[in-house]
Subunit: 201 residues, 2 copies
Amino acid sequence: MKDAFTIWFTGPTRSGKSAIGEWVAQLLRARQYHVEIIDSGRIRKQINRDLGFTKAEITTNILRIGYDCKILNRNGVVAIVVAVSPFREARDAVREQVGEFIEVYCDCPVEELMKRDTSGLLQQAKEGGVQNVAGINAPYEEPFKPEVHLRTSEMTIEEAANLVITTLELLEKVDRIEPSAYTPEEEEMIRKRLTDLGYLE
Amino acid sequence: MKDAFTIWFTGPTRSGKSAIGEWVAQLLRARQYHVEIIDSGRIRKQINRDLGFTKAEITTNILRIGYDCKILNRNGVVAIVVAVSPFREARDAVREQVGEFIEVYCDCPVEELMKRDTSGLLQQAKEGGVQNVAGINAPYEEPFKPEVHLRTSEMTIEEAANLVITTLELLEKVDRIEPSAYTPEEEEMIRKRLTDLGYLE
């Protein structure tokens, strides 16, 4: 088995990070990987209760999670992080910190986010009743070069998870163990994108 | 291989925690365990720079480390923690949090600590030039029921590490793979102590 790595899901609330992250975890566990899912929101409720939502505090939260990824990875455990992580600089810092890092951008139009949100959180944010909701009333900086760019309003969770796994295979982070979910032509397009971004020779 | 667990080294500065912890890590790695050493002092310099030395802040540091132990353990990685962790209540809380927990008390007389301390830290603490040195000018609460009680001024690092491993074997946390470092009579005494403390039937 190859070395462990971190898959970092970034994107606004309701963009599908958790659901896709869970599915990817299941696919990797089926391949005998140890996988730990770290949910930034849960971390904030548990060990990082002291942190608010200034840029510095968000970055501290991200880098603490990065430390956990690092100690998991170096002991052979794959880390899947689910974190809005709205700041590009913080994501680049954690990429540097962790080393083996795959960024997955869950990209979803605001109208679709609102439609999915049964809790009313986003509506309240829009009306100013809730603060710090990235992409609604707080900044969300899109990644320039995510290894995986998921347009989550245009695909199923399974399709999204398959694109993550195929990308891991093309980047040789995991071995291919069954036929690709894609045609050779589709896979060539994925490979070309990764090459253009500098992730593949 | 059995489930992973956490070995928690507590004791004042210079009591031998790190050296013995490292040795135990080597012995477990030789048995094919993944082992991560978490040094509380290093954690404070890296991810928990915000924390001071009030009882609450010390406890927060300990519980954050406990979270790391938990995610390592549930992915099959043994955690070895090296932390003064002077407060009984915090250690009991982290024991509860982690689950599979072995407390190792590094017990060493102050005079011996002073002798070992080439950095002058303890002398400065004694003179009041440095604050928050547990056991010198800040509280250190001895464990009532540590699984292992090491009198580190009376034994070598190797002997101390062997006692930790033998205890792990008797508690059935690890399999015995080679003859015990102890005579049957000595081992019976270790077993009796563990039984008296309620860790063995």
